[in-house]
């Protein structure tokens, strides 16, 4: 896992938006913005080196130059969550696109009822933003829980996949807005749990991921039913995408 901070004096973004990052000579890839939208001057991306482009990006050192286009897409609906309980469910690197939401909550806590983060990841060593999680936990109105899939006996937190923990969230189903980001299978099962607990599909938002190229809805690489994830998303309400959610070959 690598965090790249790109100096960019005029880059403004909203939580949930993404940039196309270009590793010169290799290619480009959509990477969500994981920094604080209130900070100007640098734009932060957290990525996992898994393919040719992200491996090349991960090798960059201070002073290196990367290509960057953006921000693109539709982010998290923070205005729709005003006055409500903010429920954030993240899996693995899915915490990165939700971190700007947490920053926003920390700066505008009075605009919300409260915030609850449920974060699942593979093992304790993979937990992102550990120091920030500890710092945030002391802030009024914010609570979080981490669960890992695998752990040795030294780990004192929860062990197990994130989906059953959704049943334990102190949820206000009629007064909550949920924002989910992580592997699509996790999104499906977590969304299903939230629906079972009485939330409306229109109050559940998921960040979808597909192979993006142009990022402006022209090339069709990221078409998802009638939507283009790059332009109409990546954040969708569950109500918008329910007919295609979980269907194969879409």
């Amino acid at each position: 896992m690598v965090t790249l901070e790109v100096a960019s004096s005029k880059h403004l973004f909203k939580p949930g938006e993404f940039n196309m990052m270009y590793a010169f000579g290799i290619g480009d890839v959509a990477i969500s913005i994981s920094g604080n939208s209130a900070n100007s001057g640098t734009v932060t991306h957290t990525l996992r080196a898994v393919g040719a482009v992200t491996r090349a990006l991960a090798k960059h050192r201070e002073g290196d130059v990367v290509g960057l286009r953006g921000p693109f897409g539709r982010g998290w609906p923070l205005d729709a969550a005003h006055g409500k309980q903010l429920v954030l469910i993240a899996g693995g690197i899915g915490l990165a696109p939700l971190r700007p939401v947490i920053y926003h909550f920390m700066q505008h806590a009075a605009d919300f009822d409260s915030a609850y983060l449920l974060y699942g990841t593979r093992q304790p060593e993979d937990i992102l933003f550990q120091q920030e999680l500890v710092a945030w936990s002391g802030r009024p109105g914010f609570r979080y829980e981490v669960t890992v899939d695998y752990a040795d006996e030294n780990w004192q937190g929860h062990v197990g996949v994130v989906t059953p923990r959704v049943a334990k969230i102190p949820l206000q189903p009629d007064n909550a807005v949920a924002m989910l980001c992580g592997p699509e299978i996790m999104l499906r099962y977590c969304a299903e749990q939230l629906l079972q607990r009485g939330m409306r599909a229109s109050d559940i938002f998921v960040s979808m991921e597909r192979n993006m190229k142009c990022a402006i809805g022209l090339c069709g690489h990221c078409q998802y039913g009638p939507h283009f994830i790059c332009k109409d998303g990546p954040v969708f309400s569950l109500a918008e995408i329910l007919p295609w959610f979980g269907r194969s070959e879409i």
Partner: protein, 155 residues
């Protein structure tokens, strides 16, 4: 001080169960407290109980040669642990160790089996609840095996 039947009626596992059944089951129970690192179960030993967890947290663990002790799942307040008492040979398949001081109602497996045989309707109610939990934990275990946070991307 609350009696066992009250403690059980407050626990989600027994919500919606007829009071007469809960009262019957409560006759097999004992209120217990286990400290951190106490063992509730050891792999291979006789499984003569299941635990209704009221407070605290326990971990289902096993020992993997070369890797040491591995936690497979943690189970906490409002949940239950242990179903090996239902089926022969009535032996625990994993270790269960306390992570945070656990307040539990320990229900005697043999006593419960006898009551289930005598009162089949009660036994059905109990087994329905166990089946649901088994299905949920099987689903969770399948997701765990999928390693959904692994590095499966290609860009």
């Amino acid at each position: 001080m609350k009696t066992i039947d009250i403690l059980l009626k407050e626990h989600p596992f027994f919500w919606d169960m007829e009071n007469t059944y809960v009262d019957l089951i409560a006759g097999c129970g004992r209120n217990q407290v286990y400290k951190t690192d106490d063992w509730l179960a050891r792999e291979g030993e006789t499984a003569d109980k299941f635990y209704v967890i009221r407070e605290g947290r326990v971990a289902v663990e096993t020992e993997i040669p070369g890797r040491g002790r591995v936690a497979l799942a943690t189970i906490g307040a409002g949940e239950i642990v242990g179903w090996s008492w239902i089926f022969p040979p009535y032996r625990w398949t994993f270790d269960v160790r306390v992570r945070q001081t656990a307040h539990v109602v320990a229900l005697d497996g043999k006593c419960l089996r006898e009551k289930c045989e005598t009162d089949k309707a009660m036994g059905y109610q109990l087994m329905k609840r166990f089946s649901r939990i088994m299905a949920e934990r099987l689903k969770a275990a399948r997701l765990q095996v999928m390693d959904i946070y692994g590095t499966h991307g290609d860009t």
